[in-house]
């Protein structure tokens, strides 16, 4: 039995589906704008990530949580979260390898011009990936409910 049936969360509505179909691309674009443009305007990885995560939640409300769960590959969510942490850590630790301090962006200047701006942009994207995937993950986990943990026989005890 799917979680949608069990909780009666999903109501199929043409109005909601049509609205979400129109609005979702704009919201995702806005999320990316907030992430990329955080250097010059309010916003950044944390805010943009949450907005990007809310796109998936909107789709789930319109088309059902189970449909969204099938549509979204779990590997994408997991690799966004761990990839974000690894990106941030790699950029930070890379400068130490180059003989500087943690996150001393200008040491990358020898490989690429405007290294500071690009470095900050990458860090923001990494943060956005972490926040978006964890928000989506928490959403799906909560939607699945606590039935699995309670129903499953306790092997270890």
């Amino acid at each position: 039995m799917s979680s949608d049936e069990r909780t009666g969360l999903y109501v199929e509505s043409t109005i909601i589906m049509t609205t979400v179909r129109v609005v979702a691309p704009f919201v995702l674009t806005f999320a990316l704008f907030v992430m990329f443009h955080g250097a010059d305007s309010p916003g950044g990885g944390f805010q943009g990530g949450v907005i990007a995560g809310s796109v998936v939640m909107m789709l789930a409300f319109a088309y059902g949580i189970d449909a969204a769960r099938e549509w979204l590959d779990v590997r994408v969510v997991a690799s966004l979260a761990s990839g974000g942490v690894l990106t941030f850590a790699a950029i930070g630790l890379g400068t130490i390898l180059l003989g500087g301090n943690f996150l001393e962006y200008h040491l990358y200047e020898q490989f690429i011009s405007h290294a500071i701006a690009y470095g900050i942009e990458l860090v923001e994207l990494g943060i956005g990936g972490i926040v978006a995937s964890v928000a989506i993950g928490l959403f799906f986990l909560l939607a699945a409910g606590f039935g699995h943990a309670v129903d499953a026989p306790e092997d270890e005890s």
Binding site: A39, V50, S82, F88, L142
Partner: protein, 181 residues
């Protein structure tokens, strides 16, 4: 300090929503009041010229938190209650009242909004001035908040990002799931 009409209306709205979230008996109604409170606060942040905080409050407080709360509510039993408001015990009122008094007692020591010079250590402080003067030259970003977040205090931010990541892992562990779906 004079309040503009919009500020006064917003403050009353936010206070009303906060009290509503505390005393409403129906959990869903209380949740809606909480979301409205977050939205009101986020507009206040923008009016106080803290758009980064406002954006976060609107996206996380009013958006994601509300959705997660509603999901949790949908997965639990919502008892049919009669009566609009929770019955409030005297002890709770005394405790919350004492807390509010302590909080309000700290307000006079804050600098006035828009105060300049020595009257406002937040603005005139050495660290703040250093960020404002050097942020663009050091980091090539116009938003000083981003400069502090991703460059000056980058190590702290890595910690924050790892905290978010750990929250996801902890949720997986507690709910005994292996994947985020």
């Amino acid at each position: 300090m004079t309040l503009s009409l919009i500020e006064a209306v917003l403050l009353v709205f936010v206070l009303g929503c906060a009290i509503g979230a505390a005393v409403l008996r129906d959990v869903l109604a209380s949740l809606m009041a909480f979301a409205a409170y977050s939205l009101g606060i986020s507009i206040i942040w923008v009016m106080l010229e803290a758009p980064d905080v406002g954006l976060t409050e609107a996206a996380v407080g009013a958006g994601i938190m509300t959705i997660l709360f509603i999901l949790a509510l949908a997965n639990t039993v919502r008892p049919q209650e009669n009566g609009l408001f929770e019955s409030i015990s005297v002890r709770t009122v005394v405790l919350v009242g004492a807390f509010v008094v302590v909080m309000i007692a700290t307000v006079p020591s804050l600098p006035a909004i828009g105060a300049e010079g020595a009257a406002n250590p937040v603005v005139s402080g050495e660290v703040t001035q250093h960020y404002i003067d050097n942020a663009y030259a050091d980091t090539e970003v116009h938003n000083a908040v981003t400069a502090v977040l991703a460059a000056y205090r980058g190590f702290d931010t890595l910690g924050e990002a790892v905290v978010v990541f750990s929250a996801g892992v902890a949720a997986l562990t507690v709910l005994r799931q292996e994947v985020f779906a």
